[in-house]
């Protein structure tokens, strides 16, 4: 079983559109019934908008805990505020109040409160979902807005996807990754065999692609790059290609800017299914072939 993770660094480069197209393409060829999908972008989970899954299972995701002050016993001494490094305790109208959004859940205040008025309360931070999508089983989640521990939820999504893949002898898990390079990205990358970075040929896109590549390499993983909206700024595309050549990273294709991608998104379909002969569809199909070859035939 192999794991492919789609990343970008910069947001909005087309990770989810590429992932959805891969899911569709995989279901069309020899990999039909052999693929599991996972959406690791748990605070902006968009893959479901294209795959239109039928929900089979859901469970609460317990994130971190938050501190709660019992106002009946609180002596208003302010010790809790003094020890809080997350600026989560406010003094409002004679009462010390904990801002649950700012609270990191460290419980330092619990142990410092002389009147033992503070306790920790578990929070439901999101939902975990398992669905059947038009292109195979989909593991996804929704981190409630403003919550922490997105990395933990990503890990849960990936673990469940991986277990089913192993159980059923599936060949490939495709993971739609989050933007950035922080904890959810690290969780999304962990255990993957290959990261495909969807880069954008813009000064910002090139900058963030480098950081994404550094992150992938930091964890010792193999990466490939494809360039989306490649014709928007050809100089940027060339910069990406020469940077990758110099760093020994394979570039696996240019996807042209194509309004069909947005039209497919609005229609709730993968672009390759929506209009297979659109320029973007043709290019994504070529990228998919190269990724697949590298992933399944190499080694």
């Amino acid at each position: 079983m192999k794991q492919l993770v789609i990343l970008s660094g910069k947001g909005g480069t087309g990770k989810t559109s590429v992932t959805a197209a891969f899911a569709h393409l995989a279901a069309q060829n020899g990999l039909a019934g052999k693929v599991i999908l996972a959406d690791a972008d748990v605070d902006a989970a968009n893959l479901e908008l294209v795959l239109q899954p039928r929900l089979l299972e859901q469970q609460d995701f317990k994130g971190g805990k938050v501190a709660v002050i019992d106002q009946d016993t609180c002596a208003s001494c302010g010790d809790c505020q003094a020890v809080c490094r997350f600026d989560a305790i406010n003094y409002v109208d004679g009462l010390y109040m904990i801002d649950p959004i700012a609270c990191d859940g460290c419980a330092a205040c619990v142990y410092q409160c002389p009147s033992e008025s503070i306790s920790m309360r578990e929070q439901i931070a999101g939902k975990f979902y398992f669905s059947e999508s038009r292109y195979g089983p989909l593991y996804h989640a929704n981190l409630f807005p403003g919550q922490e521990n997105s990395g933990k939820l990503v890990t849960l999504v990936k673990q469940r996807a991986r277990l089913q893949a192993l159980d059923e002898n599936r060949e490939l898990v495709i993971v739609d990754g989050p933007p950035g390079i922080g904890c959810p990205v690290i969780s999304a990358v962990s255990g993957a065999d290959l990261a495909l970075i969807v880069a954008e040929p813009t000064v910002a896109g090139v900058h963030d692609m480098r950081r994404a590549l550094q992150t992938v390499q930091h964890f010792g993983m193999r990466a490939m790059v494809c360039i989306n909206k490649a014709d928007i700024y050809p100089a940027g595309a060339e910069e990406i290609e020469s940077f990758c050549r110099a760093s020994g990273i394979e570039t696996v294709g240019r996807i042209p800017f194509d309004v069909t991608v947005t039209a497919a998104m609005v229609a709730g379909e993968a672009v390759t299914a929506f209009q297979p002969d659109a320029p973007s569809s043709v290019a994504i199909a070529a990228v998919w072939e190269r990724v697949l070859q590298s992933l399944l035939l190499k080694e």
Binding site: K65, A108, G146, Q147, P179, T202, G205, A235
Partner: protein, 317 residues
């Protein structure tokens, strides 16, 4: 006044709007820009500040003094993140799990714990040619936590920049006196110029780094695109704003692509649409090459000035 530019979905044009708003505002105001997208900070690529101030930031990790430690395990017991373990005659710290809360240091009965800075990234700051006071955080590759860096960035205010801002503020003081819309009393704390505009460029998503960027802000400018992805993620961030009680305005970027679901949602939920930027290939090309929108399309300067005025009026109301 502190304005946060956020989006939920990535790549909708947060930095495009934040940088153009800053340049338009800098014509009349003291402006400070904070790039809070510390994982993928891009605003400097457009504003070109002279980044001559630098500070390493991170969290405070416990250091055990083995001579004083009695291995009582109290520190491990209070650690909510399982970052400390006592194994036989050794007290071990796992830095990658530590949140730097200091609880262990406080409870240690032997006072055997001191703290050291675990560097997770840097803050950089400097002025731009157009007089914008710029600062950004840059998270080190491989680090998981962006929030501590954003928290430090919001508090940071290097002395030389304070002086520079002071000079800019003086120059515009006369103009400001004639503008009763900005109430100087409303700005307090943190590093915002007391009488000026702070613009924070937020990271994508809707989890803790976005919340940390939004905390303490006066106005949230949501940049979205009229697509199902844009709408889905816009809703997530709008709900954080509701919870934090921050005023919200919406900018629709790439207007003309996709559908009208974003406009319907905004109308139904009382979110005012303050600006629309049409999808034009020349904008996309210029921004790709590193130009700001107001430089690529100067006709947008008045539009961004009007946007700022609109925000100021809504904030003062």
């Amino acid at each position: 006044m502190r304005i946060v530019v956020a989006s939920g979905k990535g790549g909708t044009g947060k930095t495009t709007v934040a940088t153009s708003l800053a340049l338009a505002a800098a014509e009349r105001e003291a402006v400070r820009v904070l790039d809070c997208d510390v994982e993928a900070p891009n605003a400097a690529l457009f504003l070109h500040p002279d980044l001559n101030q630098r500070k390493e930031v991170g969290i405070l990790l416990p250091v055990m003094d083995e001579a004083l430690c009695t291995h009582c395990g109290k520190c491990a017991e209070v650690c909510e993140f399982h970052a400390i373990a006592v194994i036989g005659k050794k007290t071990l710290v796992f830095p990658e799990l530590c949140h730097g809360c200091g609880s262990c240091t406080l409870v240690c009965p032997e006072k055997a714990i001191t703290e050291r800075l675990d560097v997770m990234g840097v803050l950089e700051s400097g002025m731009t040619a157009s007089g914008v006071n710029f600062a950004r955080g840059l998270m080190n590759v491989g680090e998981p936590m962006a929030v501590p860096i954003i928290r430090e960035l919001k508090k940071w205010n290097p002395a030389s920049l304070r002086a520079a801002v002071g000079r800019v503020a003086e120059c515009i003081e006369t103009k400001r006196r004639s503008n009763p819309l900005i109430d100087e009393e409303t700005a307090s704390g943190e590093s915002a110029p007391r009488n000026g505009i702070e613009i924070r460029d937020a990271p994508p998503g809707a989890s803790c780094p976005v919340v940390e960027t939004m905390r303490g802000a006066d106005f949230l400018l949501l940049v979205t695109e009229p697509t199902p992805f844009g709408l889905h993620d816009l809703k997530q961030v709008a709900s954080i704003a509701r919870e934090l009680g921050i005023l919200v305005g919406v900018v629709i970027n790439r207007d003309g692509i996709g559908d009208d679901a974003v406009e319907k949602y905004c109308a139904e939920n009382g979110l005012p649409i303050l600006m629309k930027i049409p999808m034009e290939r020349r904008f996309a090309e210029a921004i790709a090459s590193g130009k700001t929108l107001v430089d690529a399309a100067p006709e947008y300067r008045p539009a961004f000035r009007a946007l700022l005025e609109d925000i100021t009026v809504r904030f003062a109301a």
